[in-house]
Structure formats: C-alpha cells, structure tokens
C-alpha cells in the first residue's frame, strides 16, 4: 500500500512556489532593466532625431538657406552659394551692413552648424562676408 506522503506533496508544492517566486523575481528585474533601456533609448532617439534634423539634414539646410537668400533684402545682395559634399558656403565680396544684419540675424537664429565664417569691415557701410555651414 503506497500512499503519497503529504510531506512530499507539501515539499513539492513549496519547491514549485519557490521556483515560481524566483522566476517572477527574475522576470521583474528583467522588466525593470528593459523599461529603463526603453526609456533611455526613447530619450536618446528623441534627441538624435531632433539634433539630426537640425544639423544633419542636408536637404533641410539647403532649402532653408535658399528661402533666406530669396528674401527681398538679400535677393539683390549678390551672395554666392557653393554646395560641397558635406557643406555649403556663402560669400559676398561687399555687402551693405544693414543687409549683413538681416543675413546674420536669419542664420544665427536657426540651428545651422557654422564651421567657419569671416566678416571684414571694408568701409563705414560695407563689409565682406564668408560663411561655411556643414551638415
């Protein structure tokens, strides 16, 4: 007559419970890690997308500069654009200081990656201007 020992059943149940609790603990820890990683990735993705669209978008940089140069105050200033592989350069040998104010105001108020620029006074009212914007 072999009856199941209730102590064995109790031990088996406790072992199953223990394994379940350990598995749950491990799963909870994993969830905490995955949640933290997700939040970190989300934050990073948001920053990368934002900064990339501001500084690394060639099409966007070219289009917005084109719009600036098409402004009535700048259209006749004779600003020369040269598009290179990873940058665009703007230059003008002589420009009225008011026109320069408009141009600098527009450029500096947008998120362009200015890698070089030079403004040199030629006379009381005119300056020369060179700028390189990268993406």
């Amino acid at each position: 007559m072999n009856r199941i020992n209730p102590i064995h059943v109790a031990i088996a149940l406790m072992v199953i419970l223990l394994i379940s609790v350990i598995s749950l603990g491990s799963s909870k820890s994993k969830l905490t890690i995955v949640e933290s990683e997700y939040k970190q990735t989300e934050k990073m993705a948001s920053k990368i997308v934002g900064l990339k669209s501001a500084y690394g978008n060639k099409k966007e940089v070219k289009q917005s500069l084109k719009k600036i140069l098409m402004l009535s105050q700048l259209r006749s200033a004779g600003i020369v654009q040269k598009v290179k592989k990873a940058s665009i350069s703007l230059s003008v040998e002589s420009i009225d200081k008011n026109t320069l104010n408009v141009l600098m105001g527009k450029i500096l108020n947008r998120a362009y990656n200015i890698t070089a620029f030079k403004v040199k006074k030629l006379s009381e009212n005119s300056v020369s201007f060179e700028m390189e914007i990268a993406w």
Binding site: N5, L31, V34, Y38, K47, I48, A111
Partner: protein, 318 residues
C-alpha cells in the same frame, strides 16, 4: 459508478495476493517477500450496523463522526461505510494503531496490497474460529465479534486461503496522525492559489517584457537608429557637441556685438575658424579695453587678447 467498477476490479486483482489476519495478539509474521492482503481483527476497528435515513454510502459517510462520537476513546479516527441490503455497516479505525500493529508484526507498509475488515470478509462464518491463543472470532447478529476462547467449546482454525475478498477495502492514511486531511487540503489550496497568482504575475511580466522589447525594436526602425546603442551614443555625442559649440559661438558673437564702443573705436573683423572665434577692434582706448576685459571675465568665457599697432585682437576658443 467508476468507483464501484474500480473497487471490483481491485478486488479481483487483490485475489492474487495471500490474505493475512492481523490481530495485535497474534504472533509476528515470518519474513515475506510478496504483497499481501490484510484482514483486520475486530480489535482494530469499531463497527456499527445501522439503519440510516439516507440512500447512498457517501451521504452516510458524512454522518459517521457524529455516530461514533460518544463511543470512541480519544484518538484520530478514519471512517468507512458500506451498504448491505437496507442496512449500513459503519466502521471507525485508527490508522496509526493499524500501521503500528503491522510494524510490530514485521509487515512493511509497502508490502500491503489492500486492507479489509474482518466484518466485510468473514461475516458468513459458521461457528467460532481461533485467531490467537486466547481469542476467537464469532459472528453474532451479522457482526463479527471477538470472544475469549473459553467462551466457546470448539474453535476451528481460521483458513483464509480460499477466501474470496470483497470490494470493501480501505486505504490507510499513513500520515493522518501528523496532519489533519482537511487542514492539509486547505494549506495545499492556499499554496496552489499562491502558485497560480505568482505564475499569472510571471506571465503578465514576461508579456510586458516582450511588448517593451518589440516597442524598442519599432523605435529603432522608426527613428532610423543605428544597430547598436554604442553607435547611437557616439552619434548623439557628436550632435550634442555640435549643438553646444553652435550655442557657444552664438553667445560669443552676441557678447562681442554687445561691447559699447566710442565713436572713434570700431570692430573691423570677426571670424570663426578651426574652433577659434576671433574679433579685431581698431583704436580701442585703455578704458574700453579694461571695460571689455572686465565684461569678458564676468561672463566666465575663456579668452586671449593682444594689442598690435592700433588693433586689439581677441580670441576665444570653442
């Protein structure tokens, strides 16, 4: 229905094993190496022949503890009942006493195939049968009873070899004295409920982990991120550096344009190359230079300045 079938089948199967009459006063059994059926002596159980207002044995079984309540000594009892005609034969027995008796007689619990009451197996006996040196069993009013040998004149020897066993066997609760069955079931139910709760929580958590992993993958695709976090961190660092540098450049330009110059003084050149911002001023007085230097120091910008001829050259590194 299935229980009845199982009991019948079990009884047929148990016929293969030898039957042994177990009485506390009978001598110890010789070493056995096969399974045996045990027939309990009336000294190992209490029996009552009853007429109860119930139809089924399962209903009658619920009444047994109260039926035996006043007639049993203090102890932990199990109950059994079967129906014969219109009457119920109710039994009360102490599992531990039976198990201890088996042990005393040298019978291993694992060698016991089934356990029967003498009442259910020997009720048909005619006359008395000697079971040990001092006692005999005898059937009176359908009840198998124990009698001192001297009460009966002739007692035959009990022969169980030809005995056909009934289906009224009992299962001994080997550990019934350690923990009450109902308490055990309650504890077991609570533990099982806990296991179910914990496992449910585990599956919910695992599902959340999978969902977040999928969302993370979607985020990578949607944001056009690079394959590894290391690469993305490098990209972010690069753009953050650009952003900081551009903000600083704009701050430098704003600072230089904010210097208050006298009419005779002028800013003649301003430029940025190789991460160095520079500005050239003409005809700056010492007072103006002092004012500008003070302003630059208070802004905590790092700068270098030098005068050459009439030009004051300012350099600020990004």
């Amino acid at each position: 229905m299935f229980t009845k079938f199982n009991q019948k089948y079990k009884a047929m199967f148990d016929q293969k094993h030898k039957a042994l009459f177990l009485d506390p006063n009978s001598p110890a059994v010789k070493v056995i190496d096969e399974k045996i059926n045990i027939i309990l002596s009336p000294s190992l159980y209490w029996v009552k022949k009853l007429s109860l207002p119930v139809k089924y044995t399962r209903d009658a079984k619920k009444l047994l503890p109260s039926i035996f309540e006043d007639s049993l000594p203090q102890g932990h009892y199990s109950y059994s009942v079967y129906k014969k005609g219109d009457d119920f034969f109710a039994f009360a027995y102490d599992d531990k006493v039976i198990i201890d008796t088996l042990k005393e007689k040298g019978i291993a619990f694992s060698d016991v195939a089934s356990v029967y009451f003498a009442q259910s197996e020997l009720f048909f006996m005619k006359g008395a049968f000697k079971i040990n040196e001092t006692q005999s069993i005898y059937v009176r009013d359908e009840i198998v009873v124990l009698l001192p040998c001297c009460w009966v004149e002739e007692s035959g020897e009990l022969n169980l070899d030809e005995l056909s066993l009934s289906s009224h066997s009992i299962a001994l609760a080997q550990f019934g004295h350690i923990v009450d069955n109902s308490s055990l079931y309650k504890i077991g139910a609570v533990v099982i409920a806990l296991i179910i709760l914990v496992l449910t929580e585990y599956f919910i958590t695992s599902a959340k982990v999978d969902e977040l992993t999928n969302l993370k993958e979607e985020l990578f695709t949607k944001s056009k991120l690079q394959a590894t976090m290391f690469q993305n961190e490098a990209t972010l660092k690069k753009y953050e550096k650009v952003d900081t540098r551009q903000a600083t450049l704009r701050a430098y330009i704003a600072m230089v344009l904010s210097f208050k110059l006298k009419p005779s003084e002028s800013l003649v050149k301003m430029g940025f190359k190789n991460k160095v911002f520079s500005a050239d001023f003409n005809l700056l007085s010492q007072q103006s230079i002092a004012g500008i230097t003070k302003k630059l120091k208070s802004s905590k910008f790092k700068f270098k300045a030098r005068s050459k001829n009439e030009t004051w050259h300012l350099e600020m590194e990004l």
